[in-house]
């Protein structure tokens, strides 16, 4: 018997308001399950940003292409860590691959994840970097040379046939990749949205809302990383690129906000049985994280700020630094907002009783595997992995705007 579990549950007893089923006192999906959709959201969003370049030929955001792909990979590698760490029996995680139940969204998600990782993201990154890896192999010695040879699958062919195939393959992969990215994060939304027992989660809109908030967080994060990394590595931020990316971010935030407003209005208007306990929960337990952080700071303030840069185009057009600061603040606020969105969905869904008569509380630990410390580590880990990836597959030429990278579609091909 773990005395810590009992102790922390005992502390929750006086915090219960109303009536909850006795088993509901323990909140089962905690901080790790909040971190997880945030991370996969960034993956989907970063990939959508990359596909803006490849499929929709938005040339202005070219500098972000390789960065978004590598960001997506870094975050995708960390995502399953959050899930496996949360399991009661992490050592049995392989069972989900050996005896998956086809009716379980969680089981099928394992395969969606594997498909996306192998068939989309890794392939795309490989094709983008293949010729670069050949070059780097030639220029290095010893272990590094072996690394690049292995990564390029010992390819040495830079001839026209191979390179043309690279371009064609990239096209196809990105086209397949967009719905795959939708599937990856939409599936996470579906895992929540398909639980009919929980009226906070059970909604047709949840996969869509998850997806659009994912796109918002992904684009915002890549812009944030670009704005930090470029000056740090001696480059100059291309305002043309950032302006365009923030444009897309702006539209995505509008769509995301509208969807969440639609969900809210729909619930309040229909006024089903659960509306009483849900509104009590929002006003009492989620006021700070939902009204203040998610809506106000995470969506309305960035919307306002970015609209201001659009309205006062002349004034802001002159002062680049002011625009940069506005963008910088906005993308940071958006990160907090989207994280709060995940928090409100996951934790919010467990804070009210399924008897609709009571509320409980989530007590966040500091240490331990479900604790704040580990969550911060998991959120920092993708940045570290990204740094390693950028060392191996440097995106500097593209980020600093010199030359044309492999990913660009040459007119007429």
């Amino acid at each position: 018997m773990n005395p810590e579990i009992i102790h922390s549950l005992k502390e929750l007893l006086p915090q219960i308001q109303g009536y909850i089923y006795p088993n509901e006192i323990e909140i089962h999906w905690g901080l790790l399950i909040v971190v997880y959709p945030y991370i996969t959201g960034v993956v989907a969003g970063a990939f959508i940003l990359a596909s803006l370049v490849k499929v929709f030929n938005v040339k202005e955001v070219q500098p972000l292409y390789r960065l978004s792909l590598l960001t997506a990979l870094a975050y995708l590698l960390v995502a399953p860590m959050a899930l496996v760490a949360h399991l009661g029996h992490a050592e049995r995680f392989y069972e989900i691959l050996l005896t998956p139940q086809t009716s379980s969204a969680m089981a099928m998600f394992g395969f969606v994840y594997a498909w996306y990782l192998m068939a989309v993201l890794l392939l795309e990154i490989w094709f983008v970097h293949r010729t670069d890896m050949i070059d780097m192999a030639e220029q290095s010695k010893g272990a590094t040379r072996l690394l690049y040879r292995a990564l390029s699958l010992f390819s040495k062919d830079k001839g026209e046939r191979a390179v043309t195939f690279d371009h064609k393959a990239l096209k196809v992969i990105t086209i397949v990749g967009i719905p795959s990215a939708f599937l990856l994060h939409g599936y996470v939304g579906f895992i929540f949205g398909s639980i009919k027992a929980n009226p906070w989660w059970s909604s047709v809109l949840i996969p869509i809302v998850f997806l659009f908030s994912a796109i918002v967080s992904g684009i915002a994060l890549v812009v944030l990383l670009y704005m930090i990394i470029t000056p740090l590595t001696g480059g100059k931020i291309s305002m043309r690129c950032v302006d365009k990316a923030v444009d897309f971010l702006f539209y995505a935030v509008i769509v995301d906000f509208s969807l969440e407003m639609v969900d809210f209005i729909h619930r309040v208007y229909q006024s089903e049985e659960e509306i009483k306990i849900l509104s009590e929960m929002v006003m009492k337990k989620l006021f700070g994280s939902l009204i203040i952080v998610q809506v106000l700071l995470g969506m309305l303030v960035p919307l306002l700020l970015i609209s201001l840069t659009k309205i006062f185009r002349k004034r802001f057009g002159l002062n680049e630094d002011l625009r940069k600061m506005v963008y910088f603040i906005s993308v940071i606020l958006i990160q907090f907002g989207i994280f709060a969105t995940r928090w409100n969905v996951v934790i919010g869904g467990q804070m009210f009783s399924k008897s609709f008569r009571g509320l409980t509380m989530y007590k966040m630990e500091f240490g331990g595997i479900e604790g704040l410390l580990f969550a911060i580590l998991l959120l920092a880990l993708p940045i570290i992995i990204l740094a390693v990836l950028m060392k191996i597959l440097p995106p500097w030429k593209e980020i600093h705007g010199e030359g044309v990278s492999e990913g660009v579609e040459v007119a007429g091909s």
Partner: protein
Amino acid sequence: MNGRRSFLRGFFAVLLSGGAIEGVLKLFPSKAHAKETARTGKWYGYGVSVDKCIGCARCMDACKNENNVPREPFFVRTWVERYITRKNGQTTVKAIAPGDEAAPEAASDKTILRSFFVPKLCNQCADPPCVQVCPVGATFQTEDGVVLVNEKTCIGCRYCIQACPYGARYLHPVTHTADKCTFCYHRISQGQLPACVEVCPTQSRIFGDLNAAASPMSRFLRMNKIHTLKPGLNTEPKVFYANLDGEVR
């Protein structure tokens, strides 16, 4: 122009195939549960007479004894709720505990309109949402209609606990696997009653084979107006309530 056309083609291809795959997944539900009522052999069900329950909580005690459920109040396989509806229309609910003080009111409370006890347990649904969502097939439905958890393969993801609309499941603090009422499967397979039914002093709890011709269960289903919990969720519970008040969730 070419790019956009081929994108749209590819997009719809994946969408249709993805949608088809998802649709197929629901058409071939996991082997874990048999949706058809077993026509031969046993198909266990349970009956609760709400107006016979005296709220003594001996059932809760017996269950914890029989099944080695942790003694703390945070983990229950069965529990009893006490409902009080007052004249102003407010209903309050409380879960009782075996050691509870006998009701503090010695005289009658004039503001009470209706008051009663409701025993609750796993409904052993015929279409269990918990079985539907288990990713590894650790929870499954037996041929005689009991939903069990295989504690050797459960990975402790807690999806089933989220999916249960009745709050019947908990994560066992020692084995770190999901756990819940099993109708005392080890007892009923030897022809005995579940522990809670065994010790109930007023026969408020009834257990039996829904397929049997003459049994306390079949009489219960004939003589009472029968209700189940949250019927709108279509889980087809096999715990049937007689004289269930509309306030009960």
